[in-house]
């Protein structure tokens, strides 16, 4: 994993990019924080924030020419936030006299400030703070220069005097009535380590560096009006501050220009999205300044411009309160750490890899690919927590096994001839389809493992419908069937080592069958095929339904309204979105479009195996989704339905509508348990073989001498702990056969354990003849050495 490249992507994130007001403030006051404190009513804290960036803020805050207001995003949405007025109120309500300064030794160098006007005073104070011995040469008998022009026009004499007196209180030396000129400047140059020229007017026009304000590479620096060439108070103050930085660097012999691109005003990369912002009129002051309440109200109009597009849309980022900038730094740290805890593991395994962040990001940063690459790297380095995806990967192995995996060509004409008689042939499109059998598999129906697990009853009907409908229009191409798993769980888990097992088998089958088009019913299969099997032509079952017709259904117009939860894996597949909507409308339902639909689809929480690795995070996704609409949800991914129904949101798979299985609204919905899902797959294979291919198979079910009784409570516990009925049976079977169990004489319960692969399962049960009643089930991965 190229971590340097990754960090570069992180640096492109504009989450921390300042708002336009801060970028256009020459001293970069933290206006967001300032306004937020006012909103909270904490005027003292708001004043502290001003003081942080604005020198002599008690004065400048009242006379600042506020360039920030010109660029405010609210400008055309009710009027710019009245920052200048807010500053006045904050000074009135939050000003606290500074504590008596503690004199620090000034040992870093001697600096002369020529001109005790605003910029000179600012430069002096800043340099004093940095530890320089500062001397000010002022031609008049007082400091402040142009500040005095505001006396009685915004500033009071007493305030000006008090603020300026701090300079001498701090121990700086002021030489009043001392005029320095171009002619005697050299003598100051000899005496001081650096000079600051801030006199407003000067006899010689120096050529100054636009970033450092330095004259060539000399010890002379020019600021204030001589540099800004305007009368702006805040630009003058900024100039003084920037010169102080330059002089410090000059005396310390560090780079004069490094990392200074964003001093003064600059252009922010933030382009705040105002799509959902309603105009709100500026609060007018009733007296000379805003009252406390007026200020709070005005502050509350501030949009607090910050790019939060991804985190606003994603509950995963919300749970970890993280945006790509900090997320990527965490991944970088997690990847580089050698000794110690990998704290970001849990977060990395809680991303559904749905891709929504990239769609909403103004600069196009997507975490999906980054998370995928990170998980892959964790696996390769042996740092992926085993427990995170173990169950899902074992379940995938089950799908790969002979219990489920099945490939069949369309039943041949020869084998189906007992169907070719009247009236069957007249009424059954399926029989007619078989009759037209060509022997060439043009299509392979691939329902996928999850649909087969949870909507088992539809698979055979869909297959027969496909044979009938496709052969009717396209006699050359037979329709075969392929049960299996595409390998999406391995992809999500970063287990690229397991991908070939899934993908190679599919590719070989495809080649052997002379490259049929795969009909896919699962959006995750479609994504996996696109990524790992790009040579295979695929089409969604929904597009096939649209093209060749729906199974015969009872269509009544004027059915209710449903909201569509698009599958996140289809985000960029507009054909699927259109087919689904068209089918839903054909079936007589009306559609409510959610804000997050189609390319902005939100994940149900199953994606990226989050339901397995972090069930709490998965729940957040469902909660987020279920409150988006009052209507019941229509989905077309089996996992979406599973997640929503488990989250107690009524949801229908589009097949439920097609086959008229939309239950009445009073009965509760239920999804099969993890064990039932495996059994369903097993039985689906047997049923299809028997009913369609007339092949009798041995029952694949294990038989035991006992039966199990499992209460709903224990069932729920087993689901939460990812324990299968099959595991329980093995434990009890071993306990009975080998007497490997504990007995509790008081309750007459047994407690047995058995290690299956990398997990030890424990079962507490009561024995009543052949019936075992389960009391508890738990497991651990830790190995206990028994000897």
């Amino acid at each position: 994993m190229d971590l340097d490249k990754l960090l570069e992507i992180g640096n492109q994130c504009i989450h921390l990019e300042p708002p336009t007001c801060v970028a256009s403030c020459p001293v970069h006051m933290d206006i967001l924080a300032f306004v937020s404190e006012i909103e909270k009513g904490d005027f003292a804290k708001a004043y502290k924030i001003m003081e942080n960036k604005i020198p002599f803020s008690r004065l400048i805050g009242k006379i600042c020419d506020h360039p920030c207001e010109n660029t405010c995003v609210r400008k055309n949405l009710g009027g710019s936030i009245h920052i200048s007025e807010l500053e006045k109120t904050v000074i009135a309500l939050g000003y606290v006299a500074p504590k008596k300064p503690f004199p620090l030794p000034k040992t870093k160098g001697n600096v002369a400030i020529i001109g005790g006007g605003l910029s000179g005073c600012v430069a002096a104070v800043e340099l004093d703070k940095k530890g320089y011995k500062v001397s000010i040469y002022e031609k008049t008998n007082r400091l402040g220069g142009s500040l005095w022009a505001y006396e009685g026009k915004g500033l009071e004499k007493q305030a000006i005097e008090e603020e300026l007196s701090t300079i001498e209180n701090k121990g700086m030396k002021v030489f009043y009535n001392t005029e320095v000129s171009e002619e005697n400047l050299h003598s100051y140059k000899e005496k001081y380590d650096a000079l600051y020229l801030g006199t407003g007017v000067w006899s010689k026009a120096y050529d100054i560096n636009p970033y450092s304000f330095q004259v060539e590479d000399s010890s002379l620096f020019v600021g204030g009006k001589l540099q800004t060439k305007n009368d702006s108070v805040i630009f003058s103050a900024s100039s003084g501050k920037r010169v102080a930085v330059s002089i410090d660097r000059y005396i310390n012999k560090t780079s004069m220009l490094a990392s200074r691109e964003r001093e003064g005003i600059f252009e922010t990369k933030l382009d705040f999205n105002t799509t959902h912002v309603m105009p709100l009129k500026r609060v007018e002051k009733t007296l000379q300044t805003y009252s406390e309440n007026e200020a709070i109200e005005e502050a509350s109009r501030c949009l607090k411009c910050q790019c939060n597009e991804c985190i606003n849309a994603c509950v995963h980022m919300q749970r970890f309160s993280i945006t790509p900038d900090s997320y990527i730094r965490s991944i970088n740290h997690n990847e580089r750490i050698i000794l110690g805890t990998h704290h970001a593991n849990a977060m990395i395994n809680a991303c559904t890899q749905c891709g929504l962040c990239k769609v909403v990001c103004p600069v196009g940063i997507g975490m999906k690919e980054i998370i995928h690459e990170t998980r892959q790297s964790m696996v390769e380095r042996g740092k992926m927590p085993v427990s995170a995806h173990d169950f899902a990967l074992k379940d995938m192995q089950f799908s790969h096994s002979d219990y489920f995996s099945l490939v069949r060509k369309q039943p041949s004409k020869e084998a189906s001839k007992d169907l070719f008689y009247y009236p069957v042939i007249a009424f059954s499109a399926y029989a007619r389809g078989l009759y037209k059998g060509s022997g060439k598999t043009g299509y392979l129906f691939y329902p996928g493992c999850q649909l087969s697990s949870t909507h088992t009853e539809y698979i055979g009907d869909i297959y027969k419908h496909l044979v009938g409908a496709i052969k009717d229009k396209d006699a050359d191409n037979d329709v075969g069937l392929y049960l299996g798993c595409c390998g999406a769980p391995a992809d999500w888990a970063g287990r690229l080592d397991l991908m070939p097992e899934s993908v190679e088998k599919i590719r070989k089958t495809w080649e052997e069958m002379e490259e049929p088009t795969f009909i896919l019913a699962c959006s995750s299969c479609a994504a996996t095929f696109e990524k790992y099997l790009p040579m295979i032509k695929t089409i969604s079952l929904w597009e096939v339904f649209e093209k060749y017709g729906l199974p015969e259904v009872d269509i009544k117009k004027g059915k209710r309204e449903l909201c569509i939860h698009d599958a996140c894996a289809t985000r960029h597949d507009s054909k699927v979105h259109e087919s689904i909507r068209s089918i839903v409308k054909t079936l007589g339902y009306s559609v409510e479009e959610l804000e997050y639909s189609k390319e902005k689809a939100k994940c149900c929480g199953y994606g990226g195996l989050v339901a397995c690795a972090n069930p709490e995070q998965a729940k957040d996704f469902v909660e987020d989704r279920k409150h988006e609409s009052e209507h019941d949800v229509l989905v077309y991914c089996a996992m979406c339905k599973d997640m929503l129904v488990k989250g107690e949101k009524r949801a229908y798979h589009i097949l439920d509508l097609i086959y008229g299985q939309e239950q009445d609204q009073s009965s509760s919905q239920k999804m099969p348990t993890l064990s039932e899902r495996q059994n369903n797959r097993k039985h689906l294979k047997q049923t299809l073989l028997k009913e369609i291919w007339k092949e009798e198979t041995m029952s694949a079910d294990e038989t035991y001498t006992f039966t199990l009784r499992i209460s709903d409570d224990v069932k729920e516990l087993m689901e939460k702990r990812f324990i299968l009925v099959g595991d329980i049976e093995k434990v009890i079977d071993n306990a009975i056969k080998n007497k490997e169990r504990f007995f509790n004489p008081k309750t007459s319960d047994y407690l047995a354990r058995l290690r299956l692969q990398n997990v030890t399962y424990w079962v507490k049960y009561e024995e009543n003849g052949n019936e075992m009643t389960l009391k508890d089930a738990y497991s651990h991965r830790m190995e206990v050495v028994e000897h």
Binding site: G340, T341, H342, H343, N345, A346, P385, V386, S387, A388, R721, N738, K739, E740, R741, F742, F743, N744, P745, K746, T747, Y750, L751, R753, T760, W762, K764, D776, Y778, S779, H780, R781, M782, E783, V784, V785, E786, H787
Partner: protein, 68 residues
């Protein structure tokens, strides 16, 4: 791994009909390996792990080791 369970129990070994005794047991997971005191059958050595221990402290230690 600090032991957090009863030092006595009603459970007894069904095969050996023995009361369980507290003894040092070796447990291991990934790179971690510990000695802990657990209840076991003195004859067949089968070790008793309760739900609370498995889903509590043991799970915590497993997760800790997985993140190492």
């Amino acid at each position: 791994m600090k032991q957090e369970m009863d030092t006595t129990t009603l459970w007894m070994c069904d095969k050996c009909h023995e009361a369980l005794v507290l003894q040092k047991v070796h447990v291991r997971y990934l790179e971690g390996s510990f000695e802990v005191e657990l209840l076991k059958c003195p004859t067949c050595k089968m070790v008793f792990i309760s739900d609370e221990l498995a889903m509590g402290k043991m799970l915590e230690v497993e997760k800790g080791l997985e993140d190492k």
